[in-house]
């Protein structure tokens, strides 16, 4: 504690001496410090604020333009992607339509072929039937002739020559 008292005493003493020294000794230091400070402002303005400020401003304009460009490109890319997607969907729909048409065609052709085959089969069957009928007829005729001949022979045998005469 004594030390602090001593310090304060010293300060008070120095201040009390008057004229020279003390805490509130204002002299030519003040204006010279002001001038020195203004010179420092000018020097730092040339060495520090101007070049670095320019660098910062340049960079921010660079970034801003780049960002704008990038955004534009992004928008373009998005539009392109959308367009492609639409085209893709369109193409898919078309291909599906083509597939459906082809399937329908194929079914029609198949149905037609089946119908034709059935018709042909029918025709062949009918023809076979007709041939069978004809052969049956012929066979019947032949049988009738044979029946005639046989019956005449039987008659001959039974009646002998009398009848012939």
């Amino acid at each position: 504690m004594t030390m602090m008292h001593w310090t304060i005493l010293m300060a008070a003493e120095a201040a009390a001496e008057g004229g020279k020294g003390g805490l509130f000794d204002i002299d030519a230091t003040l204006p010279l410090m002001a001038i020195q400070f203004l010179i420092l402002v000018a020097v730092l303005n040339a060495l520090f604020y101007k070049p670095l400020g320019k660098a910062i401003d340049d960079r921010s304009t660079f970034i801003r333009t780049n960002q704008a460009e990038a955004q534009e490109r992004l928008a373009k890319a998005e539009a392109l992607a959308k367009q492609y997607e639409q085209e893709l969907a369109e193409t898919r729909r078309q291909s599906q339509a083509v597939i459906a048409a082809a399937e329908a065609d194929a079914q029609k052709i198949a149905a037609q072929k089946v119908a034709e085959a059935q018709q042909e089969a029918q025709a062949q069957r009918e023809q076979a039937q007709r041939e069978i009928d004809q052969q049956k007829q012929e066979a019947l005729q032949a049988l009738e002739q044979q029946v005639d001949a046989l019956s005449r022979q039987i008659l001959d045998k039974l009646l002998g020559a009398q009848s012939i005469g």
Binding site: T2, L30, L44, L47, Y49, L52, A55
Partner: protein, 253 residues
């Protein structure tokens, strides 16, 4: 008797000395200067100029190292000026306000970080330039001049209209304000820095090891805050002087 013995003990310790109000006088013609203030302020100025040269020697689009640090400082200063003065007018004031901040900041921290006491002067001792009342009054008066200049250059004689805004009744208070502004600016800075140095000095005197460290850290904090306060107030005074009272109303209609 005991007191005298105690005094002798202190005088015999090499580092534990505390000098207040003693100046290292230089003579320039019939002018008297505080040499220790100029010596440390030249050190600070050299530091600032060196930092500026290092930062701008090779400016890169993508900043690195020292340029980065100084750009951070510049952006901080610009932000400070912009918030106080306004987007439209702040640019020409950046060098003044920025130099106020940087000079005071480096002065204060040099006082706290550089072991000035190791350099012996014939009289007085080296300390932060801001712990001398001349420096702070010089800076405060420059701030006053700056805001007067800002007001007159913006509005001409219409600047006097500020004194009767918002009511004519305010006139005497506004005039008193012109005196209290530099007074408070200079004494706040001076008092804080000197008090910080004295507290650290007294503590070192009492307990030379470790105990003063928290106070020193607090001193670093106060020093930075004081620099910020001085620069912010200077910017706000300038902004206030340029504020357009009539314009705002008219623009709305």
């Amino acid at each position: 008797m005991e007191m005298l013995n105690a005094l002798n003990v202190f005088h015999s310790l090499p580092l534990a000395e505390l000098e207040v109000g003693k100046q290292f006088y230089w003579r320039l013609g019939n002018l008297e200067l505080h040499g220790q203030v100029f010596l440390t302020s030249w050190f600070v100025i050299a530091l600032l100029v060196l930092a500026s040269v290092l930062a701008t020697r090779n400016i890169q689009m993508v900043p690195a190292g020292f340029q980065n640090l100084m750009e951070y400082a510049l952006e901080f200063i610009r932000d400070l000026a912009k918030t106080q003065i306004g987007e439209k007018e702040y640019r020409p004031w950046v060098p003044f306000i920025g130099t106020l901040f940087l000079f005071i900041f480096v002065c204060n921290w040099s006082g706290a970080l550089v072991p000035w006491k190791l350099f012996h002067l014939p009289e007085g001792e080296l300390a932060a330039p801001t712990s001398d009342i001349n420096t702070t009054i010089a800076l405060a008066l420059l701030t006053s001049l700056a805001y007067f200049y800002a007001g007159f250059s913006k509005k001409g004689l219409g600047y006097f209209g500020n004194y009767v805004q918002p009511v004519a009744f305010m006139l005497p208070f506004k005039i008193i304000e012109d005196f209290t502004k530099p007074l408070s600016l200079s004494f706040r800075l001076f008092g804080n820095i000197l008090a910080d140095e004295l507290v650290v000095g007294v503590l070192v005197l009492l307990v030379p090891l470790f105990i003063p460290l928290p106070v020193m850290a607090l001193g670093l904090f106060t020093s930075a805050i004081q620099a910020l306060i001085f620069a912010t107030l200077a910017a706000s005074y300038i902004g206030e002087a340029m504020e357009d009272h009539h314009g705002e109303g008219h623009e709305e209609h």
